[in-house]
């Protein structure tokens, strides 16, 4: 392995013109819901969920035993996730620790790592420039895993350090470890190459990690391109819910995990666990578990201090979600076996377990199909009024809680995108169960300027099956029972279509820079 070491110098190039959305002020601020609201949903929602389960779990409800069993598992999973969501979001204010008094910092040196693999220079340049302009004593390093002279020239032109690896073992984690071994500052910041930091990034985060037991301070991962295309917008909806009430709540439980970018570490914390783990595709998640096991604390700073690009197209989103799902699901056994305190372990399990949600969608979609094709139904003949009486309050509260705690950020588009990509979770689960090793795939930046039906093929296939079944069912009879199941199918088809539709529309190009230097990092979902 050879290393090229270019000491950072003062930036020489003028700042980029403000055409890049990452340079705009973010119009979003993460917040936890008010205590009263959060408590209301936590208490009333939990009661509603328990009442529903109480109704569902009675022996007289058992219809087809297998389907009933499936439904119960799915509902237990969802109720658990929902209740945990309510409790976590309520914890955001209830359990919030008094912030550690920020210690006076006399401008400690911070190594700022910007790992790149094959991203276009136009995406990376604003990040380097902004990083170099941060207040404090940043020593910015461009960590080039792609061995591109273009990157070396870029670093030189911006006046930042440049570290190159000849091989890319361990992907991003290996790249950072490689840099860790060659730098010395007591604090290390990691920025994805598309995340442009705010001038106060270090000034705001470093005081949090000055405390000797704090391993890292994580900040939100803001998608600056959310207004530019529907996939990024929907993905941002999901992100906003996580980095809003959930992350604040997790922080209250001391279980906020590192998200791989926009984060500042203590070097000694990283070194105490041997740096970033390279065997996981979600090295950040795995690292967080190790650090917490080792007694380190994490801090979440609910302030947007860097803006980056979310997935610009469906392939990018699928690629990202596959990586996250595989990484988090593969970490499940590790979390179960870990020596984390109970509360933290539950929080980590909930985060990982979320990536099983796709299975619940599959089960929900299957029920009306099986009912129409075979007549089998999970719940024994009960009046719809009975079901609705117990289900609707729970469902309504779950939606209301999402709407209220998410402050409108989590919308139908976010939900339908998740629903339409149910298969990502299923595929990731199967891959993890088969022990198939994952491969780190860089989330594509820039997006494709063409339709991507292949990225939503499973959703389209689902729609075809659902519609075919509905037609078949209606052709046989038009009884209220059939109509009810067809209505369920219509519901699923609508949500599937809403989620898949952005892939079937020709996207608008994001920016001239991105288009000019577009890299065809099409996600190969299968390979991932």
């Amino acid at each position: 392995m050879t290393t090229t070491d270019l000491r950072p110098t003062m930036p020489t190039s003028p700042p980029a013109p403000p055409v890049d959305p990452r340079l705009d002020e973010p119009g979003w601020r993460p917040e936890a819901p008010s205590t009263a609201r959060a408590l209301f949903f936590a208490v009333v929602g939990t009661v509603g969920a328990l009442v529903y389960l109480w109704w569902l779990l009675r022996p007289s409800r058992v219809g087809h035993p297998v389907l009933y069993g499936l439904l119960v598992v799915v509902e237990l999973f969802n109720v658990t996730q929902a209740v945990a969501f309510w409790i976590t979001t309520a914890s955001g204010r209830l359990r919030r620790r008094r912030p550690d008094p920020l210690r006076p910092v006399s401008d400690p040196a911070v190594d700022v790592f910007v790992p790149v693999y094959d991203e276009p220079a136009a995406v990376v340049r604003p990040t380097l420039e902004a990083a170099a302009r941060m207040r404090g004593r940043p020593q910015v390093w461009l960590l080039d895993d792609g061995c591109r002279d273009e990157m070396r020239d870029l670093a030189a032109s911006v006046g930042v350090g440049y570290l190159r690896r000849e091989d890319s073992t361990g992907a991003k984690a290996g790249n950072i470890n490689h840099a860790l071994a060659r730098t010395t500052a007591p604090f290390v910041a990691v920025l994805d190459c598309d995340h442009v930091p705010h001038r106060d990034f270090l000034a705001t985060t470093v005081p949090h990690v000055v405390a000797p037991d704090v391993a890292f301070a994580q900040t939100p991962q803001h998608y600056a391109n959310a207004d530019e295309n529907p996939v990024a917008a929907a993905a941002w909806g999901q992100q906003a819910l996580f980095f809003g009430p959930i992350a604040v709540g997790k922080d209250a439980w001391g279980s906020m995990f590192c998200c791989g970018t926009n984060v500042v570490f203590r070097r000694d914390a990283l070194e105490s666990v041997g740096g970033f783990p390279t065997e996981s595709v979600t090295e950040d998640f795995e690292l967080s578990v190790r650090l917490q096991e080792d007694g380190w604390r994490s801090v979440y700073v609910p302030e947007v201090l860097a803006s980056g690009y979310g997935p610009d197209d469906m392939a990018g989103y699928v690629s990202q979600q596959l990586r996250w799902a595989r990484g988090c699901l593969s970490a499940l056994p590790r979390i179960v076996r870990s020596s984390l305190p109970f509360g933290k372990r539950v929080q980590y399990l909930l985060s990982s377990g979320f990536f099983l949600t796709g299975w619940t969608f599959l089960v929900y979609m299957s029920m009306p199909v099986l009912r129409l094709l075979t007549g089998a139904q999970p719940i024994a003949s009960q009046g719809a009024d009975q079901f609705l009486l117990f289900f609707l309050p729970y469902f309504g509260l779950a939606l209301a809680a999402l709407a209220a705690t998410g402050a409108g950020a989590y919308g139908y588009d976010a939900y339908s995108l998740l629903f339409a990509n149910w298969w990502v979770h299923v595929s990731a689960t199967i891959a993890v169960l088969r022990g198939k090793p994952g491969r780190f795939v860089v989330t594509p930046k820039g997006g494709e300027a063409r339709r991507q039906p292949r990225a939503v093929l499973p959703a389209l296939a689902c729609i075809a099956v659902l519609l075919g079944t509905a037609a078949w069912g209606l052709a046989r009879d038009t009884s209220p029972a059939t109509i009810n199941n067809v209505a369920f199918i219509a519901l699923h088809v609508t949500v599937l279509w809403s989620g898949a539709a952005p892939a079937l529309r020709r996207p608008a190009a994001r920016s001239a820079a991105a288009e000019d230097e577009h890299t065809s990092v099409a996600a190969d979902a299968t390979a991932a």
Binding site: D385, F395, Y412, D413, T478, P480, A487, A490, L491, V495
Partner: protein
């Protein structure tokens, strides 16, 4: 006073009138002329009536009918004379030339009639000589109008009076004798001859006086408004007659006959005032006194005639036309008023024509005639409707003509500006179109009255005080709607469309109200989509076609909510006053108005207490709310004793006092309400709110679509929480929950019609969903159109599907009974609250509750009428079964059975 030809073509009041004494003289002379000519006109009217009455006695019925047909044709021939006469009165210039033209034209028409007389005689079943007499009258018709008009223009009032009196005198003297001798032919010839005699007297024998008149007329310069005046008065003649033609074309024989009575008697008022504008034309605009006299005289005649018609309409009609036309008596005063207004319109038109504002007059008259035609097209299915059309048209015409053109233009501009301030021009057009469609849709009702409506009609026929007393003791509603129907019934009778008119109007006005609300809350597109939805929303259409208070209640509540939003957002006295008035009206219409009032107060508090509101704004809202609420309290205070008495009465009934149980849950079977509050009841109300009432099967299938509601919930995710939506949701959810809670105590309270005011709010919310989900105008239009189509489909099913449990075809069921029932036959009905509806649809038939079956004569043919879906289905079925069994045991047998939606009829006879 003398009149001389003026250089501007009109006739100028003489200079001698300039002094006070001369002015007094002129006033006196003008009054004498007006009264003298009018007196002659009235004398002529009475004379013609006497001739008709004598002829009716002298001639055989068939011959009298022939004479009637001849007289119709005679009147038709003289229709243009009204216009010609008015034109000549304004400006008699070029008299001889006009005589020539009219003479030639009249001869041509006469020749045509004579040539076509064999065909006409066969077609109208008249003797050939009668048709020829009509043809002979043709040359004189136009000339008579011209001569009378020119006499008015040249001041020959005595000759006019003489000519007017000569015609009936001639008819009476010659006509009666000729009728005795020659029958209808003689009478017709005499009428024609009397016309010529009148022409001769009016124009004068060739001599000095006639020459003077001719000389004056020939030297006068034609007034520029003469043609316009001719057209205007011709149009007034059309306005006076076209309702009769529509009645003949659209009504059945009986109804057309009834309207003919109204028209004949009411037309006397127009006849009585016909000469007043003609006498005014030469003087109008130059003598204020003459103007005032003409207007005052016409108004006094119209008002007096209307008062007489109100006070003694029925005996008057009975005297004139005999018994059997009682139904025509109700709209008679309104028609007399309409004819009075028509007379007034003519005077006002004469004034404006003489003042040179003829273009304005022609436009206004044409618009009035067109409006009349349009209204006749919409309402001309019953005599009352035709009367409303005529009254509306004549009142509008008179109002427009009363204003100077500049004022009309100014007001039109102000209205336009106000409308444009309220909405863009294209929206005004669209909302007007939606409103017109809504009115049409609501007017076209295919169902007869049901029980509650019949109760309303029954109450409306009581004297006002007695009606209020009955409402106090037996009813549970405030009196505004009942009072409205009471007044309408007095004016227009109790036809279905009349008693439903307040609901129809309220339902149509809900369209602009929904637009205003949607626009105020979200913007014009949402307003338009909301207006479209309200136009065809089945539930709203249903109650806009019901003679109950729900449509008014919904309108007042919607207006109150709109005003409240404006008051909170912008303030302003108008908004607060509108809120207070609409809220008070809401409470005067329905006691359940306290629920939206409660929601409104909650909204005021929420708006005032919201975070970040400047203190001054908070104070403004709170102060406004307190003052407006106080105003509502004052406005509603008189209602409190009434309400307390109703409450007492209700408690007494609940306590076991024997009264007839009022049906409250018609058609509720599919809702599950009958079994108590349940999810189904909630679902049924939700379906009714959006898609209206449908068969049980359809309701079950629709209820099975509940999973799609989850989509609504998901779709609402992340939509944000605008204040407008929060206010809407509060105003929908709070009342709904309160009614739901009330339903757990008294189950039938959770019934959508009691909180129907949430429906427009829901539709505004739906409209907002459309405009939010589909931001582009084109996709918005497509989505809104598809949603409206869905509503139209639901509307059609609701209106036409006989399986709709809310449809009660008492009209159909009782039509057959009424057609067959004899004087000794009996209707037995069950349950006993069907009494009012049976009385409405079978007014002449002896009807009794089924419990009184033992008092029925054994030989009487009996019909048992029952409805089963109102209240206590099982008990009703049991009582009907028992009654049928008893009647059969008594020797009767069932000989016929009829089943129409929700009503069954058994016919039994020995």
């Amino acid at each position: 006073m003398v009149s001389v030809a003026s250089t501007d073509g009109g006739l100028r009041v003489g200079r001698r009138a300039a002094t006070p004494e001369a002015d007094r003289d002129a006033r006196g002379a003008g009054a004498r002329q007006q009264l003298g000519v009018a007196g002659a006109q009235w004398t002529a009217g009475v004379g013609n009536l006497v001739f008709a009455l004598v002829a009716a006695r002298v001639l055989a019925p068939g011959e009298f009918a022939e004479l009637g047909a001849f007289l119709s044709g005679y009147v038709l021939l003289h229709l243009p004379a009204a216009g010609i006469g008015a034109g000549a009165a304004l400006s008699p210039a070029g008299l001889s030339q006009q005589r020539r033209r009219l003479g030639i034209g009249g001869l041509a028409i006469g020749a045509l009639l004579a040539a076509a007389s064999p065909v006409l005689a066969r077609t109208f079943d008249m003797p050939l000589p009668v048709v020829l007499a009509l043809a002979a009258a043709a040359p004189g018709a136009g000339l008579l109008g011209l001569e009378r008009g020119s006499r008015f223009g040249t001041g020959g009032h005595r000759r006019i009076a003489a000519g007017l009196v000569t015609e009936p005198a001639g008819r009476l003297v010659i006509g009666v004798v000729a009728a005795v001798l020659l029958g209808s032919v003689g009478a017709a010839v005499a009428v024609t001859a009397a016309g010529y005699l009148s022409l001769l007297v009016t124009s004068g024998l060739p001599g000095r006086a006639a020459a003077t008149t001719s000389a004056i007329a020939e030297t006068a310069v034609a007034h520029p408004g003469r043609t316009a005046t001719t057209i205007t008065f011709g149009l007034f003649a059309v306005l006076q007659q076209q309702d009769l033609l529509v009645a003949k074309a659209r009504l059945g024989d009986d109804a057309a006959g009834a309207f003919a009575m109204i028209s004949t008697a009411g037309g006397a008022v127009a006849f009585a005032t016909a000469t007043i504008p003609l006498a005014l034309l030469p003087l109008a605009g130059r003598s204020r006194q003459a103007d005032r006299l003409a207007v005052g005289l016409t108004a006094a005649i119209g008002a007096a005639a209307t008062a007489v018609a109100f006070a003694a309409g029925q005996p008057l009609l009975a005297t004139l036309f005999g018994d059997g036309f009682e139904a025509a008596a109700a709209p008679f005063p309104a028609y007399v008023g309409a004819m009075g207004l028509l007379g007034l319109g003519r005077v006002l038109a004469a004034r404006r024509c003489a003042a040179g504002q003829h273009r304005h007059v022609v436009l206004a008259t044409v618009a009035t005639v067109v409006l009349h035609l349009g209204l006749l097209g919409m309402l001309g299915t019953a005599p009352g409707g035709i009367v409303v059309a005529t009254l509306t048209a004549t009142a509008t015409g008179a109002a427009v003509l009363a204003l100077p053109p500049a004022a009309v233009a100014r007001r039109a501009r102000r209205i336009r500006e106000a409308l444009l301030a309220w909405a863009p021009a294209r929206d005004v057009g669209a909302v007007a179109a939606f409103t017109a469609v809504a009115a049409a849709v609501r007017l076209v009702s295919v169902r007869g009255l049901w029980v509650d409506e019949a109760i309303t009609v029954n109450q409306a026929w009581l004297p006002f005080g007695e009606m209020l007393d009955q409402l106090r003791v037996t009813d549970v509603h405030p009196p505004l709607h009942h009072a409205t129907v009471w007044a309408l019934v007095r004016v227009l009778g109790d036809a279905e469309w009349v008693v439903r008119l307040p609901s129809v109007v309220a339902g149509a006005l809900l369209v602009p109200a929904a637009y205003a609300l949607g626009r105020e809350l979200y913007g014009r597109r949402t307003g338009l989509v909301a207006a479209l939805f309200v136009t065809v929303a089945p539930f709203l259409v249903w109650y806009s076609q019901e003679a109950r208070m729900y449509a008014l209640f919904v309108l007042f509540t919607t207006v109150a909510f709109w005003a409240q939003v404006r008051a909170i957002r912008h303030g302003g006295r108008g908004a607060w006053v509108t809120w207070a008035l609409a809220t008070a009206a809401m409470l005067w219409t329905q006691w359940f108005g306290v629920i939206p009032l409660f929601a409104a107060l909650a909204l005021f508090v929420a708006a005032a207490l919201r975070r970040g509101l400047p203190r001054a704004e908070r104070r403004r809202i709170l102060l406004g709310a307190v003052l407006a609420s106080a105003a509502v309290a004052v406005l509603v205070a008189p209602l409190v004793p009434f309400g307390l008495e109703q409450l007492e009465g209700y408690a007494g009934r609940r306590g076991g006092a024997a009264t007839t149980a009022a049906p409250a849950q018609a058609g509720a079977a599919a809702s599950g309400i009958a079994q108590g509050i349940s999810v189904y009841a909630v679902g049924a109300n939700a379906i009714w709110a959006v898609l209206g009432y449908h068969s049980d099967e359809a309701m079950t299938s629709l209820a099975a679509l509940w999973p799609l509601l989850l989509l609504v919930g998901l779709g609402a995710l992340g939509r944000g929480r605008s204040r407008a939506t929060s206010a809407l949701l509060l105003s929908i959810a709070l009342p709904t929950v309160l009614f739901l809670l009330a339903g757990t105590v008294k189950r039938d309270l959770f019934e959508l019609r009691y909180f129907a005011f949430v429906v427009p709010l829901l539709l505004v919310l739906a409209a907002r969903t459309v405009t939010r989900v589909f931001p582009r105008a084109r996709t918005q239009a497509v989505a809104a159109g598809l949603a409206a189509l869905l509503l139209v489909g639901a509307l059609v099913d609701q209106q036409l599907n006989g399986a709709n449990p809310r449809r009660y075809d008492f009209e159909g069921a009782l039509a057959e009974v009424t057609a067959e029932a004899g004087p000794d036959d009996v209707i037995l009905y069950e349950p006993d609250y069907l009494g009012d509806v049976v009385a409405y649809y079978a007014p002449g038939v002896d009807a009794r509750p089924i419990a009184a079956r033992r008092s029925v004569d054994d030989d009487a043919r009996t019909w048992v009428v029952a409805t089963t879906r109102v209240v206590d289905e099982r008990a009703t079925a049991g009582r009907v079964g028992q009654a049928l069994a008893e009647l059969e045991q008594g020797g009767r047998r069932v000989v016929g059975r009829t089943e129409v939606p929700n009503v069954r009829v058994w016919e039994l006879s020995r």
